[in-house]
């Protein structure tokens, strides 16, 4: 469908927020799902670009947080309010938020915050019986995105930066580990960790989750052509527990959210 750009704003060097509007574009969209965007009719670049849903604003309006990484996102970054973009979605499975989840630990690194903000919104707005807490890390202060927005939703936020420009200095996984240890006398059966970010962070989070016996859902990315399960181009290695072997699963429609314990991290 054709959507109209409502705003497209550079937050800081190469990081953008874009709002698009189209009849029904956000209807039924769940946190963790994604959209495929195409800027203009040119065949170069040819393929759509997958962008995870950052926030659903209304049934007719959604927001994306993206990093200008290649030609597709560069073209997108040049669009202004009133320009049009071709959008397909919502696609993919989204974050599982079963009733059994009473406390969501949201862990994002850098641009990995993109799909997690919508999860915070959802838990704050739709799951009043559950609580959420956010752990956001980045290279430096400006890479730690969404602190204010999480706070506006009443979600307490911990931060970490590698250069110490925002406390704590170090990795966000250390902060997460300390938080879990502080609360280890509590019943963590209703806890779930939701992660998105660079691979080393995801691997550490998955290991922590396993150590503390907390479930961990993680949002993955991959090169993608179709986004709808047809091209088989976006697969990652996942454990096939039924057969005790490794199988390929599609990030686009088996994911993009997977149980972190199922992912064969050594092959990612």
């Amino acid at each position: 469908m054709i959507a109209q750009i409502k705003r497209n704003e550079e937050l800081f060097s190469g990081y953008f927020l874009v709002d698009i509007e189209a009849e029904g574009v956000g209807r039924g969209a769940m946190p963790g799902q994604f959209f495929m965007l195409k800027v203009g009719p040119s065949t170069d670049p040819l393929l759509r670009r997958p962008l995870s849903l950052h926030r659903k604003l209304t049934d007719n309006s959604v927001r994306f947080l993206y990093r200008q990484a290649g030609r597709g996102t560069s073209l997108l970054s040049r669009l202004i309010a009133g320009d049009e973009v071709d959008v397909l979605g919502p696609l993919g499975n989204g974050f599982p938020i079963p009733d059994s989840v009473s406390h969501a630990l949201i862990v994002g690194g850098g641009i990995g915050v993109a799909p997690l903000m919508g999860l915070g919104d959802y838990i704050a707005d739709e799951r009043k019986d559950a609580s959420a807490i956010a752990f956001i890390g980045g290279r430096g202060r400006e890479y730690v995105l969404g602190i204010e927005q999480f706070k506006e939703k009443g979600i307490e936020t911990f931060t970490a930066t590698e250069d110490g420009s925002l406390p704590k200095k170090g990795f966000i996984t250390q902060v997460l580990d300390e938080y879990i240890l502080e609360h280890k006398d509590k019943d963590t059966g209703g806890w779930a960790i939701y992660s998105c970010g660079p691979k080393p962070m995801l691997v550490s989070v998955a290991a922590l989750a396993k150590k503390h016996d907390i479930r961990n859902y993680t949002s993955m990315e991959s090169n993608m052509a179709c986004g709808v399960g047809a091209c088989m181009g976006c697969v990652i290695s996942v454990l096939d527990r039924e057969h005790g072997s490794v199988m390929y699963k599609k990030v686009c429609d088996d994911g993009p959210v997977f149980d972190a314990d199922d992912i064969v991290w050594s092959e990612i």
Binding site: A225, C226, S237, Y248, E267
Partner: protein
């Protein structure tokens, strides 16, 4: 009056010339929420083998100028699961189902064809002897004249369904291969499969796809595909399904003028899920605008 879009690929009659290309349309179901599958002339499903295949390790694809490279490695559910789980869905629709098949040996091709022969709802078999992304089989058959003949002959003998040979562009001249396929009993030809290509990330110095080389598709290859269709059309008497970078009806008409009786929409499905039906509508408009009553009347009508 509306023109007739019906075309004949030997014994296989399509209500319009537009088919989806194998490997770009899953098993049909993936796109059924975006388009009415009844509007298509035919659907060619993802390549089928005797046993399920996991495919190649990722990364499996990358974008290239006006195209993409892929090395999926023919991941598929296997012919038995296809017949049991995928075919009943497709059989609900008023469109022709073309089963694309491949094997590591001639015997495997034969066995897959034989199983499909007994399956209700399959209307033709497309024999893939041109996949560039698997070590054995695939292109190894399609780049050797005698193997081309032997595989097509074996499939011909294993099934009473129409047999379509999907040929490789990765040879000096496709015409002798088309000729051998014709002599082996093929009813039609699919031209072309992907072109063997490669792309390198200059920062990491690694190939952009794990298989190192992959198949190039998309608008980048269209002039090559049109040229091959034209060469084969002039030299060999079999009907042709033309494919290679068709994004819209103008591209499809170009292939038909070069000699394609039908066309297949491939990579365009990834970019635009409704591309295939838009091509059907656009061909009809072209025929109306040019006062042509029957789609076959434009086949091979390039003024060259």
């Amino acid at each position: 009056m509306k023109p007739s879009l019906e075309v004949k690929l030997g014994p296989l009659v399509l209500k319009n010339p537009v088919i989806t290309a194998s490997g770009t349309f899953g098993y049909g179901e993936e796109y059924s929420k975006y388009i009415d599958l009844n509007k298509l002339g035919g659907i060619t499903v993802k390549g089928l083998s005797l046993k399920p295949i996991q495919g190649n390790p990722p990364p499996r694809l990358c974008e290239t100028p006006s195209g993409m490279l892929n090395a999926i490695g023919l991941q598929n559910v296997g012919v038995d699961d296809f017949i049991e789980k995928k075919l009943p869905f497709l059989a609900q629709y008023d469109t022709k189902v073309i089963a694309n098949i491949f094997g590591n040996t001639i015997e495997e091709y034969e066995a897959v064809a034989a199983r499909l022969d007994k399956a209700t709802g399959v209307h033709a078999v497309e024999v893939n002897i041109s996949c560039p992304n698997v070590k054995k089989g695939g292109m190894a058959f399609g780049t050797d004249l005698d193997s081309t003949y032997d595989v097509i002959k074996a499939v011909r003998n294993a099934t009473s369904l129409p047999v379509i040979a999907k040929l490789s562009p990765n040879v000096t001249d496709v015409v002798p291969f088309a000729d051998r396929a014709a002599h082996a009993g093929a009813d039609a030809l699919s031209l072309i499969n992907t072109l063997l290509g490669m792309a390198i990330d200059i920062k990491s110095r690694k190939p952009k796809i794990a298989n190192i080389t992959g198949g190039l598709s998309g608008p980048a290859i269209r002039p090559v595909a049109v040229r091959i269709v034209w060469q084969v059309y002039r030299a060999v008497g079999l009907p042709i399904i033309g494919m290679g970078g068709i994004m819209n009806a103008s591209d499809a008409v170009e292939f038909m003028l070069a000699g394609a009786t039908a066309v297949a929409v491939g990579t365009a499905n990834f970019v635009n899920p409704t591309a295939s039906v838009e091509v059907v509508d656009g061909i009809e408009r072209y025929l109306i605008e040019n006062g042509i009553d029957h789609a076959p009347h434009i086949v091979g009508k390039v003024l060259a």
